[in-house]
Each structure stands twice: as C-alpha cells, then as structure tokens.
Symmetry: C2
Subunit: 404 residues, 2 copies
Amino acid sequence: MGGLLSIDEARARILSPLRPTPAETVALASAFGRVTAAPIAARRTQPPFDVSAMDGYALVAVDGKEGARLRVIGSAPAGHPFAGKLGPGEAVRIFTGSVMPEGADAVLLQEDAREENRIVVIGETTVAGRHVRRAGQDFSEGTPLVPAGRRLTARDIGLAAAGNHPWIAVHRAPRIAILATGDEIALPGESLPPGGIVSSNAHALAALAVAAGAEPTVLPIAPDDIAAIAEAAEATRGMDFLVTTGGASVGEHDLVRAGLSKRGFALDFWKIAMRPGKPLMAGRVGEVPMLGLPGNPVSAMVCAMLFLLPALARLSGLPGEAPPTEEVPLGASVPANDVRADHLRAKFARDDEGRTVVVPFPRQDSSLMRLLAEAEALILRPPHAPALAAGALVPVIRLDRLGI
Amino acid sequence: MGGLLSIDEARARILSPLRPTPAETVALASAFGRVTAAPIAARRTQPPFDVSAMDGYALVAVDGKEGARLRVIGSAPAGHPFAGKLGPGEAVRIFTGSVMPEGADAVLLQEDAREENRIVVIGETTVAGRHVRRAGQDFSEGTPLVPAGRRLTARDIGLAAAGNHPWIAVHRAPRIAILATGDEIALPGESLPPGGIVSSNAHALAALAVAAGAEPTVLPIAPDDIAAIAEAAEATRGMDFLVTTGGASVGEHDLVRAGLSKRGFALDFWKIAMRPGKPLMAGRVGEVPMLGLPGNPVSAMVCAMLFLLPALARLSGLPGEAPPTEEVPLGASVPANDVRADHLRAKFARDDEGRTVVVPFPRQDSSLMRLLAEAEALILRPPHAPALAAGALVPVIRLDRLGI
C-alpha cells in the first residue's frame, strides 16, 4: 500500500517495469520525431568523389599562376561529370558539387577568372586542394550517422537520406489508453449532471501524449460504477499503458481497484509528498502498466509532467528521466516550504538590470487551471526548502521545453 | 535583382507579403499544436458552484468548535449534490469537488473528524470559507481563456475543455510544396546517375515543416530542365508556399526562373551576407509565395531555420520572428569574422566551474551534414564581429528549441 513517497522514489517505481516498445519499419518520410530502434550507418561515402566547393574552373594547381592562360576543354555541370582527363595547360568549367575532373587538383574561383574564346585568364593564383571537397569528407560507407535510441530531428532525417536509407527502424509509438472516471463529469458540449463539471483531463492528457510521441486512445468516461470501470479495463488489451484520472478520493480508489481487478490487477496506492498532486495510483491491469492521476486538472497535469512524460519516454525507447531543470533567479521572495515538494506556477520577467527572472503567481491554489495554462515554468521547491529572497537561484522546469 | 542583403532585411522581405491561412473548425481533440484563429472565452463558470477542496464534512462554521458533536444528515459524493438544506448542529459528508450543501460555509477535514453512529466529533475548530473553492474562482462565463494567435498547448486544450468548447477555430495548417531540383540527385534507395548524390534536402525540409505545424507535399525531383520545372510549378496550385532547393548555382537560377515563369513568376535573386547560405531566391509563382534555398544540405537547413521557419509561423497565424537566441559563454576562442554573418555549428559543454558553455566545432565547412546533425546550437557571429576569447558571451540559437 505504501506511505508518503518522494517524487524521485515514485518515478523510479513507475519507470522500473517499463520496456521500450518493439521496432517497426517506417518510411524515412514518416520517421521525423520517432526514436531509432537501431543505429543508422552510412551506406555510401559523402561526397562520393572529390567535388568542387565553388563555381569556377578545375585545373592543375601548378598551372594556376596569376596572369596565366589555360585552354577550356569542357564543362562539367553537377550531375554531368567531365568524361576525359585534364592535362597541363587545360581547364574545365565546373560548378558547386561538380565532380573534379581526372587530373585536376585545384579550383579557380569564377570571380577570379575571365573567359574569352575558350581561353580562361587566371586572376588569382590557385592553391592545390583549395575549394575542393574530398571524397568522404562528411562520412564514409559504414560511418555511424545516428545512434539507436535517439529521437530523430529534421537534420537526422537529412543525414539518413544522405546515407541512402529509404527505411528506418524505429520504436512503435506507445499506445496509451486514457480513462477519466467520475459521475460528475461530462464531455465538452454535452449536458451536465447536477453538480457536474466539464471533463478536461482526458483531452489535455491526450495532447500531452501526442507531444511525447505516443498514440492516445481516449476511452469513454466511466461513471463511478464497478461494471463501467471493468468494461474500460477490457479496452486496455493491446495497449502499452493506461492512465486514469479521478477515482482517487476516499473510497473511490477502492471502486477503481474493484473495477480493474476484473482483468487481473496489481495496484499500489500512494500519497506522494508533493503539491499539487498527492494521491497517485500505479500498478498494472493484466500486462498493461497503469498510472492513476488525480482528478483535479492542475494536479493531473503537473503529475503528468513529472511521471507520465518520463514513462512515455521510456516506452518510446528513450531513458525517461525527470523533466530537465535550469537555475533561474527569483523575481520575488518565496516563503519556506513544508514537508511536501511544491511546484509553483510561475512566469518569466525581466528585472531592473534586464536579467531573466522567474516570478511565482501570488495564487497557487490547485483549482486554478487558467493560471497553469498561463504559466511558463514550474519552480521546484523541495521539502523543507527555506524561505528565499528575490535574486536567489531556484530550479525551474520550463514548460515550453516539455512541448506541452 | 538586389545586391548583398543582410539576414534581417532578407527575412523582412520574405515575411512582408505573407498572410495567415484562413480559419477552419477542428475538434478540440485535434487542436493541440494548432494556432487559434479567434479568442476562446469561457462558456461557463468554474467551479460552477462553491465546492469542497477536501474530503471531510460540510457544516456551519460557528458549529465547528473543537470537541463539538454534529449530526450527519447525509452524504454528497462528487456529482451527487446533497438535496436538502443544512442547519445548525448538522453536517454532511463531502468529498473533494462536492457541491457545498445549502447552508454550509465551512469544511471539517476528514483527518480532523471522527464519525460514529451518524455523529461526527470535531477534532479541530473550523474556519468559515476554508477548504471551500468559491464559484468562479478559476473563471466566470465570458472570461477570456486563450487569445487568438496562440499555438495551443496541452494545458490550453484542458482549459478550453473546462470552458466547454468541443470545437476550436484554428488557422488551417499551411500547405507547403517542396521541390528539389538537379540532374545529379536521386531519392534514397534509387539508382544514382554518374556523379550523382542522394537527395536529402526535401525530406529534411518536410520534417522541419511538420515541426512548424505545416503540411508538406514533397514534389518529384525536377531535373535541370525547363519543362520539368514548369510541371512542378503547376503542382503549386492551392499551396500556401513553395520552397525549392538547388538551382542556385551560376546559370541554374535562370533555368528555375524560366521554368517557373510558365505560371506567372516574380523572382528576386539575392546574395545574402551570410555563411553557410549565400544564394537565396524569393518571389512568387502565380499567387504562391516562394523561397529558393541553396542545394547544399547544411546551407539549406541553416537558411530554413532563419527564413522558412519564420515564414511558416507567419502563415500559421503567429508573428514569425527571428529564431530566439540566448547569450551563452564561449568554451573556446573564436576568430574575428569577415563581412558575412556566420552561424557556427556548436555543442554545449561544462567548463571547469560547471557552467554551461558553447563550443564551436573546429571544422565549419558547409559540406559537413554529420556535424550539423550533431550540433546543439548555432553561434551567431555578426558581420565584422571581433575575435573573442573563451568566456565571452555570444548569442546562440538552441536547435532543440526549434523542434528540429
């Protein structure tokens, strides 16, 4: 059943049973943002031959004296290499990316050349090898281009293409089922029960899952009813993860437990030493790992940042670490903290000297979703952190960096 | 025709004719990452009534004296409000999110209560209004929740849901056609012409477009041939933007110009005072704004970061500004710069004191795609910037922040 856990302990327990999804083959054109399941090595050499780095003339370096005149024996546009061999006293017109003709070892820049009647006059002495890109300068066949376990950037896509890969092995996007429970909630636009509120967690969490590269399935809202929760449990077959919200009030988690137990269920119920947040469930439904978030929307989102994002990263083939923090000076004082780790919703501002500072909102009640949406950062306040004056450095999570 | 333009001038000229795409209606569940075309205001009040912030008992504050005993007249789980009215000497069992019963104005926490035989004994004196969330504490009907022109975060999705919006008006994702030209290039896995190389720009740019929220269409590679380029020009009908790569060497831009002119064409050809990059085309094909990037993959990607990302942002309904920079100390000295703005590919490291520093790669040749993929930042070196020693602050673009 567990007692009052620290955030790091809770995260470690959530992550420990998670394994990356298996690999699938996707087209290079669909691989952006996916996590590589195998290293990508070059299948060719780049450039595949010595090429010119500039527009101009290829020649033999020793011929390239200022004032010398060379015979232009041909032209080699990119994709149309010069077929013959270049000898002393000869030049070939070339362009950026053109294959260097056999025999040539220097490039005369176009702006240093004057051509008339197939004779080029050299305006500046050339240097052997200058403005020539050597074969293999970028990579050779077999060079590792992208390691396994990397989320592919647009630049990686270009590099894999240059390495001649039309297909990429990536981890399958984790399939995550999202279940909101509660008699009091209804979807936006639907009629509300008496005392009801609009369900906002499921679609916010689905968006967060998309940001993390997962594939969300929003299950129908389950009322506080064992049969309905059991039906939802059935819907988790073939999923990689189940996240629930709500069902964490006194008595309610017993209901969720009873409903989910129809499919084989192992549950931990924890109180985490944190704010906003506190009640969290974790376990598994059959083979599917499960995380139960609070029903309060602010608590649900903050817990999702701290626990669900790392879990989805781990399933995706990444390490799955705590959200990255950086140290930023406070723009206002903060009081001493109590026993629970706090996550103050905050905005950035400039101080009198133009430095970036982080300023917590005066109101931190966990019912204020509007302030969470406005927030740019969470200020981390560890348990028992002392009061701090403006100017003190505090660790912050930048929300834009999480992509959510 | 233009001369040697600065980066800021070029960007301003590219952005100035661009207008946001028109609005479309999407389901809330599809709106994550889209840019709002209209403000979103609350359609209801949140919470819609006074609710309890905790599990416990609702009562009249003046009754809540330590040691007092109250009669428990009912229970109000979330979604099942207590129907009657609470009077002196009475309490109602409530839970987090429960509607406060009529007549009650205080909450006794569960951990401060002991209930036996429908009598609750008060363990700690209550305070009126404490642990009660007031109706409208988060927002009221009509409160602005999300402004127009904002890229919706996961938190915004939750907020719009809570505000009872099943549908959202967003700018249509910009449709961008991507055209790689050149006789020397072929797609990954296809057989190469003599002297040929694998085309990598189109799919790297398509990934970048996806990262910017646009919808890319990769056109078939156009050989260096007027008819083929004219056919590609036809394919731009209905597109919001055309980006080409290649065709910027001496003579080649005349070819592109001739091909595109079949569809009504206004072209600027610029040499930008930058490295990597330099030749850039901009203009329009018929009604479609067009940007012509260099064929060199490193130059194409750097130019795309500086010019294409802001253009796609502008089309998406955002301002479309220069990529954000921050000041980071150098981890190594850099030489003085010449007349062209430079963008040094670099990685972050820690110096002896543990500070984050930025270290340019020793090799900066624009043929090195592998180093661009490894880079974490571009160090901006303005024209004529002086030599700087390690420790000096330099503006950098963090590539992870661009999502590419």
